[in-house]
């Protein structure tokens, strides 16, 4: 296999970034670091005291339910907003972005849920939209098609035909085209906004695979999701958000998947819900029992309320087996 990297002459490549902080990420300067960042919209405190970092070759997952402040956090990192307090550093230098374009110039690319692709246009046209390679008065179509194919292949996407409309691809594949496009045009940090939210199990797996690919190519990835099962396998760090506050910021070694799931699900709320369902009787009660069993199995009851770590383990075998 030839190296497709050389085909994109002039573009600075993600692979060129030194692999600082490979693995744990404590060794080098992180690509992106937020320290005690807060964001207020008038009287509304959307985020308070959030600290987060991502280094090259790392995946930092941001988990939270709807309204937890994930969008605000993305907007700060992507350059749409500036934090009200706290600091934002890119490769160790404090920055204050006024627009997403400025963030992009620093290599921070955001792939939004709605993807920024034009469904009716061919894959290769979407790939190069806004960055067309020109040749004389026209475009260098052969080069663009080939580059697109190679780039997608490098991400492990083998398209039969880059001439097909991107709308004919599955949601997962579209996400991957958007990701590889960001990588090709020099992204060092990828912010992925709920890339698996609208996808089925298998498609989500495909996207997770590409997240790992991106990590292995030396990119920093900030992966926003509400699904701990998607986050845990690929993440190196996990930031849990709830109502604009951090519920915890963990290295992978500090937390198990079940604990993560428990924190995310909010064990106490689940428990309460299961009791409510049980009192309904009938089919609802069955669901309630099943949920209760889940809560027990996960051993999450004691972590549920986050702060009160007093032994709220009223039920059986409390802690989760690994």
């Amino acid at each position: 296999m030839t190296t497709p990297q050389n085909t994109s002459a002039g573009k600075h490549r993600a692979q060129d970034t030194p692999s600082v902080g490979q693995g744990s990420g404590n060794g080098g300067v992180p690509l992106v670091r937020l320290v005690n960042a807060s964001k207020r919209y008038g009287a509304v405190i959307a985020l308070s005291d959030i600290t987060l970092e991502v280094g090259a070759g790392e995946v930092t997952c941001v988990l939270g339910d709807n309204g937890a402040g994930k969008s605000t956090l993305i907007k700060i990192i992507a350059g749409l907003h500036q934090p009200s307090t706290g600091s934002y550093e890119v490769e160790g230098t404090p920055v204050a972005f006024n627009s997403p374009r400025e963030a992009l110039e620093h290599g921070i690319a955001t792939v939004y849920q709605d993807l920024a692709v034009v469904p009716l246009m061919p894959v290769w046209r979407n790939f190069f939209l806004g960055n067309e390679v020109r040749k004389g008065l026209g475009m260098n179509i052969g080069f663009m098609k080939k580059t697109c194919k190679d780039e997608l292949l490098a991400m492990g996407i083998d398209l039969r035909d880059v001439d097909q409309a991107i709308g004919t691809l599955s949601g997962g594949e579209r996400q991957c085209v958007a990701i590889s496009r960001a990588v090709h045009f020099g992204a060092k940090v990828l912010i992925l906004d709920e890339p698996t939210a609208a996808l089925g199990v298998k498609q989500s797996g495909v996207v997770l695979k590409y997240i790992i690919q991106a990590r292995e190519r030396g990119l920093g990835v900030i992966f926003i999701t509400h699904n701990p099962h998607h986050a845990y396998p690929v993440g190196d760090r996990f930031l849990l958000l709830n109502r604009g506050k951090s519920l915890g910021y963990f290295e992978k070694s500090q937390i198990t998947r079940d604990e993560l799931t428990g924190l995310m699900a909010g064990g106490a709320e689940l428990e309460q819900l299961s009791h409510e369902l049980e009192s309904e009787g009938g089919a609802a009660a069955d669901i309630g029992h099943a949920m209760e069993a889940d809560v027990e199995e996960l051993g999450i009851a004691h972590q549920a309320s986050g702060t009160d770590t007093a032994p709220a383990v009223t039920r059986q075998e409390g802690t989760s087996p690994r």
């Binding site: 993807l115 034009v118 009716l120 190069f128 960055n131 067309e132 008065l137 026209g138 179509i141 039969r160």
Partner: protein
Amino acid sequence: MTATAEAPVTPPPIRDERMGRKSGLARLLARPEAGAVAGAIVIYVFFFIVAPPFRNASSFSSVLYVTSTYGLMVTPIALLMIGGEFDLSAGVAVTSSALCASLFSYEFTTNAWVGVLVALALSLLIGFLNGWIVVKTGIPSFLVTLGTFFVLQGLNIALTQTITNQVASPDISTLQGFSSARVVFSGSFTIGGVNIRTSVIYWLVFVAIATWILLRTRIGNWIFSAGGSPVSARAVGVPVGRVKIGLFMAVGLMAWFTGMHTLFLFNTIQTSQGVGNEFVYIIAAVVGGCLLTGGYGSAVGAAIGALIFGMVNQGIVYAGWNPDWFQTFVGLLLLGAILLNTFIRRRAEAAA
């Protein structure tokens, strides 16, 4: 597929088990022009059978001529529609341009070419204003250009009436520069005993240029994206507003060209001319495969849509029917063509 040059590089693609092989025919039918081509063939065969004079080369030349008078405008309208906008003022803008050229050069007794250039400036300005208002306000172009349509139509009639006391512009054939302008805009030549107007050639050239722009240039990419998903296009840095204004100005440019053709062919212009043509342009573009919602279509398809119009327009005459039935006939044909188009595209998509 292009597996020839890179055969050793690419591993043999693993075929997804859910993907059947797409036949060549299905691929052909999936093209935006497919419905229009099918419709054009049906209509050609139909008139070939019912109207014997239709079979002559000279009648076909006049079919092509009528086609070109529509087609010159259908081409930029198709681009505009692919870019996601409408222009309802396009029909009367042709007349405005011709009236402007004729009245200016006649009233100031200038060389005809001066009027031509003034009309060009006016047409580009109309296009620019249409585009600028649409882009700046975000009001649907359907409404904005509906307004422009009435403004221009009123101006055409009222200003001409005020200046000349007539419902037509004065004959400008005696003006200096008229004959050279006629050669440029409204010439004709003969091949094998068949007289062909140069407007047919211009039309084909403009269709070719439009196709090249759409498929081979960066601007073409931007046009598709501006109509297909303006938000996404903007997000990746496409200057959507400028693209749209440019498209409206392209409509203005071709309105000027069409207006000049008509003016120098007939020496004079009726003030009420052009009303209704805006729909012909849009319909021809839609028959040619342009989506009403934007983002999809082709200049070649739109040209074939114009050809369908030209064939029906002349075919009715050659068949010896009462031309009053023209519009009803056209309406039915268009409904048929659109149904066929939709049917073919559904089938092609299902096959894909």
